[in-house]
């Protein structure tokens, strides 16, 4: 590779992060342009609400700007930002006003499958819209694990690391989330 080619290569995320930390706003704007869609998409998947996702995206980048100096390049910038985004969403969940629904000690709505008394009709054929709606109705803990595993494709060990929980808890939450979704989808179908 020639010197000219090297000079023309776009800066890496790490280089942009270092410049941003030194106060270069153009560098930070470039980071924002590169990662805005990824951050917004993750916020939307976890929140299920475009307005809240937009607000959270703003919060993530505001927080990123404040903490950009702490990025040392030990991991990929995308990994670091992903973790920061998930943490921001979790903080948002915690700050949210208390839900009125009955919850277990883990803060989740119990999943109930009563064999033999289920709706005799199978769960309807589901589409993305119906599933998005049902995901949005999941308790935050279930939704977070479901989105990270079944939508984003993370392994349980990664989710455990991101959320600071045991891998077994992640598996258990995922299982409950899927069953809860099944119930929600059947309820939706019964109302239509």
């Amino acid at each position: 590779m020639s010197v000219a080619e090297i000079e023309n290569m776009p800066p890496t995320d790490f280089e942009l992060a270092q410049k941003s930390a030194a106060g270069d706003m153009d560098a930070f704007e470039e980071l924002y342009r590169r990662h805005f869609r990824r951050v917004y998409a993750l916020c939307l998947r976890m929140m299920g609400n475009p307005t809240e996702a937009e607000d959270l995206t703003q919060e993530v980048f505001t927080n990123l700007y404040k903490k950009i100096g702490s990025f040392r390049g030990d991991s990929a910038f995308t990994t670091w930002l992903h973790r920061m985004t998930v943490n921001q969403v979790l903080m948002h969940f915690r700050k949210r006003s208390t839900r009125s629904e009955r919850t277990t000690e883990e803060g989740e709505t119990p999943v109930q499958i009563v064999l033999g008394t289920e709706n005799p009709n199978r769960m309807p054929i589901i589409d993305r819209i119906a599933l998005e709606k049902a995901i949005a109705e999941l308790p935050p803990g279930y939704r977070t694990v479901f989105v990270l595993h079944d939508v984003e494709g993370h392994e349980h060990e990664e989710i455990a690391s991101i959320l600071g929980i045991a891998a077994g808890t992640s598996k258990s939450q995922l299982h409950k989330a899927r069953l809860k979704l099944r119930n929600l989808l059947k309820e939706q179908a019964a109302l239509n």
């Binding site: 106060g23 706003m25 930070f28 704007e29 924002y32 342009r33 805005f36 869609r37 917004y40 998409a41 939307l44 998947r45 475009p50 937009e54 995206t57 703003q58 980048f61 505001t62 700007y65 404040k66 499958i113 064999l115 033999g116 289920e118 199978r122 769960m123 054929i125 589901i126 589409d127 993305r128 599933l131 998005e132 995901i135 479901f146 079944d150 939508v151 494709g153 598996k171 995922l174 299982h175 899927r178 069953l179 979704l181 099944r182 989808l185």
Partner: protein, 76 residues
């Protein structure tokens, strides 16, 4: 294996994460029990649809320039 135990293991069965003994027992139960088989099929559908839900191509993104403009960035 009864239905309650099978339902507990359905996600692990779906992930192929059960040991051989449990896998065979759950599989056998699913062949015999229509109710549990329906739950398993539904879980399979949910997981499949989830993979195409929120694909970036299906997301309506807000105006990134407007969002950038609204951010009031100041160092802590």
């Amino acid at each position: 294996m009864n239905c309650v135990k099978t339902l507990e293991l359905i996600s692990e069965f779906h992930a192929g994460a059960l040991d051989e003994t449990d896998r065979v027992v759950v599989h056998t139960h699913l062949l015999e029990c229509v109710t549990c088989a329906e739950v398993f099929n539904d879980v399979e559908v949910i997981v499949r649809v989830a993979k195409v839900t929120y694909l970036e191509t299906s997301i309506h993104f807000p105006d990134e320039h407007e969002l950038w403009r609204r951010m009031n960035l100041t160092k802590a």
